[in-house]
């Protein structure tokens, strides 16, 4: 299993659409917003958590369509399904690798982008924590979309359309947690715990649904 994880991460990095591309996309989104919104720093500070979360969301959706297509192209998808290891576990590993190369670098890039958006260090910290708790959920939910559209040639945008409505609750709780941390009248722990719960919940259900899908398409 560790070997599979390592292999996934390495292949993601090598394919070039790994961490670097995700972070670059994140940077683009973060840069584009001030152009659209105007350089008013107070407004940017208010919007910064939302901009960071939206950027992380969109960047995580990238690369979902490549989650299974490489295996499908070289025919090893059937082998993966027929292995003695539980398919769910394999998919869980692949999803985790996706997060390591997409979500995690975004979390690590948040301080830099947060400063660019005039966020205070404390707010940057809270945003990082919520992103850390929430971005894995995006990867796990995304595996269902990737599995469902694996046979489609241009499935990328369709996967985003399918996955985005399902990850909106993650976004809502993430922003609510950040708002709670900076504004003492609103709770932080509630939304944050929900965020962690969603990640744990989807870490099981995402690979489960994806394995049902892949097992059928391999028949």
């Amino acid at each position: 299993m560790i070997a599979l994880l390592k292999r996934e991460i390495v292949s993601s990095w090598r394919s070039g659409s790994g961490a670097l591309m995700g972070v670059l996309f994140f940077l683009t989104v973060v840069t584009v917003f001030p152009f659209a919104v105007g350089p008013d720093t107070r407004l940017l500070t208010q919007l910064a958590p939302a901009i960071l979360w939206i950027g992380a969301l969109l960047a995580s959706l990238l690369g979902l369509d490549r989650l299974f297509t490489q295996e499908r192209e070289d025919g090893s998808l059937d082998l993966l399904v027929m292995q003695s290891h539980p398919l769910m576990l394999t998919i869980f590993i692949k999803a985790s690798a996706h997060w390591f190369t997409t979500g995690l670098p975004l979390v690590l890039a948040t301080p830099l982008f947060g400063i660019m958006l005039n966020l205070s260090p404390a707010a940057v910290g809270v945003t990082m924590v919520t992103l850390l708790a929430g971005t894995p959920a995006i990867s796990f939910i995304g595996t269902v979309g990737a599995a469902v559209a694996v046979k489609l040639p241009r499935g990328g945008m369709l996967i985003s359309i399918l996955v985005l409505p399902l990850v909106i609750p993650v976004l809502i709780f993430g922003i609510a947690a950040i708002a709670g941390a900076s504004n003492t009248s609103q709770p932080f722990t509630g939304p944050f715990l929900f965020l962690c719960a969603i990640t744990l919940f989807t870490s099981v259900l995402g690979p489960l649904a994806a394995s049902v899908m892949l097992r059928h398409s391999a028949d």
């Binding site: 939910i141 469902v148 489609l152 369709l158 985005l164 409505p165 609750p169 259900l205 649904a209």
Partner: protein, 255 residues
Amino acid sequence: MTIETATDNKASNLWGLANPTRFMRFADSVIPFCFIATVLLFAIGLYMSLNAPEDYQQGATVLIMFIHVPAAWLAMMTYSVMSVSALGTIVWRHPLADVSLRAAAPLGAVFTFLALATGSLWGKPMWGTWWEWDARMTSVLILFIIYLGLIALSKAFDEPSEAAQPVAVMTLTGFVIIPIIKFSVDWWNTLHQPASVSRFDRPAMAPEFLYPLLVMALAYIALFFTLHLMSMRNEVLSRRIRSLKMKTARSKGIS
């Protein structure tokens, strides 16, 4: 094969209808009755609604409730029908389950659209805004997007039978939005009205509003049954057309 023995049973169980021809005959005989029931229920419901008294707080706009609430209920009920159909595809491999799902999706989208539009027209005079990003409205909007995504997914495959499993899996994955919609007004205390009908104790609505609402809800349900069966019929026909076209193409190719 198991399907043949299953269809020997009475048509009273769902496997009796697994044979498409038998389903078509069933649909042809049942649809006219459903249609008549729908028209009657709408006639009674509209009569009762338009004669309902003015609400103390809401004035005449309470009339919109009689078309907004049933639409919202049907939006959720349709998704539940789709989810059961999805289970039919994945777990029981019922041949018509996919037909049922595909037929229901556009209907669900229509009901959700009507719920959003009538809700907006109700909200403007009542609470002053066309739209609010409150919990229930946002989650119904999400449901709308989910419907459209499923329709897009079902059309993305060249071969309709290929789409069956992906659409079914995606439908079940999206089911999580239904309890979110139901409980959103309890969990988040925001603009939309909390539940007054489907509470565990007695409904909190006065009878002169409750009865028209329930009749309209039944009318909408009858309409759903009618349109769903009609749509399933169309889907079976279009599959037959498709397979005939392929047969003629093949035989032309050989000759």
